[in-house]
């Protein structure tokens, strides 16, 4: 949510969420969230569908305003114009949210071209480089409708890369992807964090991804954080909600045992 030129403040930022509450039509979705994301770490927020993960993410990028509580970026409220001017943030949407009327290349270079931060030739070079990083070299002239789900997500990551963000938010980055594509996306998130030391906040209910890439994990359920810690700490947490979520799996034999016998 900023137009600060890239190549400044290359370190990831600290994010603090304090007493965050949000209701829609009288229904409380976020019920007082408190946590901190350290600079440069990969922080994964897990939880079942409808637990408030995406709403939380929208607050963290400034798309929603909290009813109560605050979100601080390096100690400053996210709504303050200083934060917008000083820190660069990007979000990778669940659907990719590429602009369907633009080509992949135009989508990826949109931030630079709209803010006129680089010359057209430089933008073209940066777009090519960014697409190469995510394995989409040569896709510049394709329309988003020509891409598969996984390719759209990688293009969305390339679009975020161009911003050279200090905070990057991923909304369900592996949903609707086959296991191989999900691994590629997980690797991209790790590479990015290692390459530009960006603070990464990932919302997902993909257990393999979360335990594979996270420095720390928070588990959210019905608008509250029920556990927070390293992957090992979360795995050994005795809370029945967490254990049920972590060990839920499809067991055909349990279905067979419930079938009425002839």
């Amino acid at each position: 949510m900023n137009s600060a030129p890239p190549n400044q403040n290359q370190q990831g930022v600290r994010v603090q969420v304090k007493g965050l509450r949000k209701s829609f039509n009288g229904q409380e979705v976020l019920k007082g969230l408190d946590f901190e994301v350290r600079p440069g770490e990969i922080f994964v927020i897990m939880g079942p569908s409808g637990s408030g993960k995406t709403v939380l993410l929208k607050h963290l990028i400034g798309l929603e305003e909290p009813d109560q509580g605050e979100i601080l970026i390096e100690g400053q409220p996210i709504q303050s114009p200083e934060v917008m001017a000083k820190y660069r943030m990007a979000m990778v949407f669940q659907s990719g949210a590429l602009l369907n009327s633009l080509t992949v290349g135009e989508n990826v270079g949109l931030y630079l071209s709209e803010h006129r931060l680089k010359s057209p030739e430089e933008i073209e070079r940066i777009v090519t480089d960014s697409l190469e990083v995510v394995g989409l070299k040569g896709s510049e002239d394709k329309m988003p409708s020509e891409l598969s789900g996984g390719m759209k997500k990688r293009a969305a990551i390339a679009r975020a890369l161009v911003i050279e963000p200090q905070l990057i938010l991923y909304d369900e980055p592996t949903s609707e992807l086959d296991p191989l594509s999900a691994v590629v996306i997980g690797e991209e998130i790790l590479h990015l964090q290692q390459r530009i030391h960006v603070t990464s906040l990932v919302v997902s209910h993909d257990r393999d991804l979360a335990f594979g890439i996270a420095d720390r994990i928070a588990v959210i359920n019905e608008g509250r954080i029920v556990a927070i810690g390293t992957p090992a700490e979360v795995r050994t947490n005795a809370d029945p909600v967490i254990q049920r979520f972590l060990h839920a799996e499809f067991r055909p034999e349990s279905l067979n045992s419930q079938k009425p016998r002839p």
Binding site: M1, G62, L63, M91, F93, A97, N100
Partner: protein, 245 residues
């Protein structure tokens, strides 16, 4: 309803404030301008030719029977340039272009493309509303000017071809020139400029407040067209009253 009116006024005001950026977005303005002209020119021609013809057919025989054949050109000319061309063309554009604007922006809203723009600190007003409003504000008055000329041509053709009227091309336009002044045409063009603002603001606003999935987009499109037409008719009365005084 009052909330919507307030939001539309705010949207219009913010777009006006962003007007200095229109040159920067000139490519998008030109694309929209081409879209509006390309999509509507043929329809404008057909519609205005037949409107001119119908007015001539309705009024011509009555006036000729009363020995007022010299008034036919003036009646057809005035009614087309001051009223029928601006209102009918604006309604046509509301249906064709207003619906397209609401649908495009609405689907961008539903599929989070507008959220994506905001996360990149790109204002949807600058990126989406400004080019559309600028383009329609230029295109609709031009289309109406064109419609006026074609409408007159339609009227003249019917006057010449119909036995009960039987006025030549030359006589029709000579009578028209005697009665219709340049300010009458300017009056209609000014009205169409105001209607363009109405269509642009209403349609973009409906797109931006779209909620839900495809059904929400459909609802927004319907509302954009219906609200535009209702406001065009209301504005038409108000503007006519103001311009007559």
């Amino acid at each position: 309803m009052f909330q919507n009116i307030g939001e539309m006024v705010m949207l219009f005001w913010r777009t006006l404030l962003a007007l200095p950026l229109a040159w920067r977005h000139r490519q998008k303005v030109f694309d929209q301008f081409f879209e509006i002209g390309n999509a509507s020119l043929l329809m404008v021609c057909i519609l205005s030719f037949f409107i001119g013809g119908v007015i001539a057919l309705q009024t011509g025989p009555l006036l000729v029977e009363r020995s007022l054949s010299s008034a036919v050109g003036g009646v057809v000319g005035i009614s087309i340039c001051k009223e029928l061309a601006p209102v009918m063309m604006s309604i046509l554009i509301a249906g064709r272009i207003g619906s397209a604007m609401a649908a495009e922006i609405g689907s961008m809203r539903v599929y989070q493309e507008i959220d994506a723009l905001r996360t990149m600190n790109i204002s949807p007003i600058h990126y989406l509303v400004l080019p559309r409003l600028t383009a329609i504000a230029v295109a609709l008055p031009l289309l109406v000017t064109f419609a006026v000329l074609v409408g007159w041509l339609g009227g003249a053709t019917v006057c010449m071809a119909n036995n009960r009227i039987d006025i030549t091309f030359g006589a029709f336009f000579a009578d028209l020139r005697n009665i219709v002044q340049i300010k009458d045409v300017a009056n209609g063009v000014f009205k169409s400029f105001m209607f363009a603002m109405v269509i642009g603001v209403v349609s973009c606003h409906q797109g931006l407040i779209t909620r839900g999935g495809p059904r929400g987009i459909g609802r927004s499109v319907t509302k954009a067209v219906v609200n535009s037409i209702v406001l065009i008719v209301i504005f038409d009365y108000v503007l006519t009253r103001v311009l007559l005084s």
